[in-house]
Amino acid sequence: MSDELEIKELEEVVVRFSGDSGDGMQLAGNIFSTVSATVGNSISTFPDYPADIRAPQGSLTGVSGFQVHIGAEQVYTPGDKCDVLVAMNAAALKTQYRYAKPGAAIIIDTDSFGPKDLEKAAFKSNDYLGEMGIDPDRVIACPISQMVKDCLADSGMDVKAMMKCRNMFALGLVCWLFDRDLDVAFNYLKEKFAKKAGVAEANIKVIKAGYDYGHNTHSSVANVYRIETKHKVPGRYMDITGNKATAYGFIAAAEKAGLKLYLGSYPITPATDVLHELSKHKSLGVTTVQCEDEIAGCASALGASFAGALGVTSTSGPGICLKSEAMNLAVIMELPLVVLDVQRGGPATGLPTKSEQTDLLQCLFGRNGESPMPVIAATSPTDCFDAAYQASKMALEHMTPVILMTDAYIANGSSAFKLPNLADYPAINPPYVPEELKGKWAPYLRNEDTKVRYWAVPGREGFEHILGGLEKDNQTGAISTNPENHDLMTRLRKEKVDKIPVPDLEVLGDKDDADLLIVGFGGTFGHLHAAMDTMRASGKKVAMAHFKFINPLPKNTSEVLLKYKKVVVAEQNMGQLASWLRMKVDGFVPYQFNQVKGQPFVVEELVNAFEDILKK
């Protein structure tokens, strides 16, 4: 660093990498977040990629983004808007500038702002900065493509291969801007391209070139920034996405329960990464079957459960539609099954790569008959691990299918994950039928307290039995159409689910004297928390209660919801949680904040809306 350069301390910063979907923005963003997490910064990331497989190069629909929020203190969201925007082409600048804060630094590759690029991005003139109203002083305009070509001139690579390294130049520049240690990035690349040493070497060379470019020509920006870590929680960490954490949670639960993990699945955005992740881990005995359809994914997982495994199926909303029939079979057969719904925008194919919370009522009610199923909604990328573990434990110990809801936002987003120690997690004890019941046992014999039936896994002599989709007699397990028996079985199935213990609802913030209680569920935890923090910082009395366990609801739900003068239920749908809570809590009349844009909440918008409610 040159002497006159000022190093400025920041509490937090948001960087958004954007470019064509082939420009490697996800990789650049991932490396930057890893580099930052390694020094102990809190991180939260959000990939925002287009639904098109590969939109025409340079087009507005083909822009892919990756936002990283790093902070000295805990960060809860990937940030509303960015402090630094990297725009690798004209289309990226056009579509992504709206995510930049006023005064944000903008890094652009001037080689991708030629007349054709500008035309594809629907600019009217050469003065693209003027058209966007961007102050040129804030722009680090750099001929990245040319510099990458120069840098790799001796590498023997063709131009196309060279251009794939442009992202690394931008990454190097950002690393310089935030005073990051490049060694971590180098190691990341060496590992990623372990079998392609040439590629790793080229990328490393280009990162260095980007870093040096920043170092040598920093005149366009005044500072180098540094984010020091405060309040460190000591421990060993890794970066993890919600989908990977979910997969890990299933693995951990199966190991704890001493059962084989079976995943029956079908590729669907944004859940497919769970199938990918679990498919890798055959050395742990994980069995994954990519089935012929969603129906078979769920049906085969149920077959696996019947045969004594932890049966899991993973999907998104459209898959839930197809799986509902086999989920219902699991309800009446009272077998364990975990159904993962990584929510995306709907209805129908909807917005496959975007995030919503619009499946809640489908998960609660979307089956024929009285079909109670526990529903758990993970609250953050790292919470997906615990949620998957809890869902598996619940399914196995209570002999019921369980729906685990996540969403595209937390599934693809990542944050630093303190490595869990499985010994610290509660035991999982499925209710295997005791040997002494041989001869006296029938399939629907239940534990009197929990109403859970016993599990007889095929292979055990003397417990041969049949299960099925037809109503069964509570005593004998034989098919029964007896009216009283059906009524009884319906009540028993409900009672069993209602009796599942879940943790109490926790109130955060000004829990004793809040003027407003913010209520949400699942993946919006970070944004709602950030909104609460912002409001409290400005002197408002605000609390929040966030639902992870949705069916059954925590026991103190009514008490919490009825305690505060004003309650707002904020969710990314038209009011599904609010409907459920109104159904379950007499006299509950909340305000509602509903947004269905396929994008994460914007903290500033939440704060504005909540402050309006306070004024009412």
Binding site: Y237, D239, Y262, L284, C291, A296, F306, P458, G459, I479
Partner: protein
């Protein structure tokens, strides 16, 4: 263990008197006793339909699931627990209409399932609609003017899905049914057994030509691997290959001797002639083929899954969750 049919029986079947399901159930009990797999290591999994009630009458583990999904559910059970012997039972509607996708993929993957297709060419439980195996022009409650669609021929579907085992028996023909079921069990992989059976109420007489011993003597040919394809009341006819097809010849006429007759090869990888055998009958002048028509060894899915897991276990250094965590990029905050 030595078992008798009695050891596999349970309950009182509730099918209509004379229904083909009764005959098949008795043969299945007998076959299972002869096979000798313990009832507690056996699972019988069905979908929905008259014939899908069958697991209720088995003293084994079982599931009477939902319409069409038996093959998918059986797939999960077998792959998760390869020690189980899994029998999957479906009717023609359950297996080939709503469950058609699972039927073809179970065959393609070659899951080690014994897949029973009870074909009475009608929906019985819903009281008489045409099924995907009902012939064109079939009059039923849902086709009062006759169907205007061609049926599936199950063998064609099985072969098209790269099935490695296909056998056929008539429900009333107990000895041959038992033999076919035992062969299906012996075959490692998806084993499709088409059982021709009568629905006395909604499609009476659909398999009349072969439903009696006398009828089979005239209208059926029992095929056996390694034996010449001879049939007729006095074994007077045989099949030979001519051009792209098969031809019926009379032994002793035109210089034809038994040596000229085509010898059945169920183990032949190429399924061309096996398919021709399977498609014979139903008014083309050829007899209906009964017995094991195709029986070819191939890697099974469930065994391949298990062996792949063992291979990866041997080649990877992490075998539990704690070791899995260590494969990530980890940093330490002190």
């Amino acid at each position: 263990m030595n078992y008798t049919a009695q050891d596999f029986k349970k309950g009182q079947p509730r099918w209509c008197p004379g229904c083909g399901d009764h005959f098949f159930l008795a043969s299945l009990h007998k076959a299972m006793a002869e096979i000798g797999v313990d009832p507690w290591n056996t699972a019988v999994i069905s979908g929905i339909g008259c014939s899908s009630r069958l697991p209720h009458y088995m003293a084994t583990y079982g599931m009477n699931t939902i319409h069409g999904r038996a093959a998918a559910i059986a797939t999960g059970a077998k792959v998760a627990n390869p020690n189980l012997t899994v029998w999957q039972v479906s009717g023609d509607g359950d297996g080939l209409a709503i469950g058609g996708n699972h039927f073809i993929h179970a065959n393609r993957r070659n899951i080690n399932l014994n897949m029973i297709l009870l074909n009475n060419r009608i929906y019985g439980l819903t009281k008489g609609q045409y099924s995907p195996t009902s012939p064109r022009g079939f009059v039923s409650k849902s086709s009062p003017y006759g169907t205007v669609e061609d049926p599936f021929r199950p063998a064609e579907l099985c072969f098209g899905a790269r099935g490695h085992f296909f056998a056929r028996a008539v429900a009333t023909d107990a000895p041959a049914t038992v033999e076919v079921l035992k062969a299906a069990y012996q075959h490692k992989g998806a084993s499709v057994c088409e059982i021709l059976q009568n629905c006395v109420i909604f499609n009476n007489g659909t398999h009349d030509s072969v439903y009696t011993k006398e009828g089979r003597a005239k209208n059926a040919i029992y095929v056996e691997h390694g034996k010449p394809l001879i049939f007729g009341e006095n074994n007077e006819f045989g099949l030979i290959q001519e051009g792209f097809g098969l031809k019926i010849v009379e032994i002793g006429k035109n210089g034809i001797t038994e040596k000229d007759i085509l010898v059945h090869d169920a183990h032949c990888e190429d399924n061309t002639l096996q398919l021709k055998l399977a498609l014979m009958g139903n008014g083309d002048g050829f007899p209906i083929a009964l017995g094991v028509i195709r029986d070819v060894e191939a890697p099974t899915y469930d065994e391949s899954v298990t062996s792949q897991i063992e291979e990866v276990k041997a080649s990877k250094k992490y075998h539990n969750f704690a070791e899995l965590l260590e494969t990530n990029d980890i940093w330490e905050v002190k």
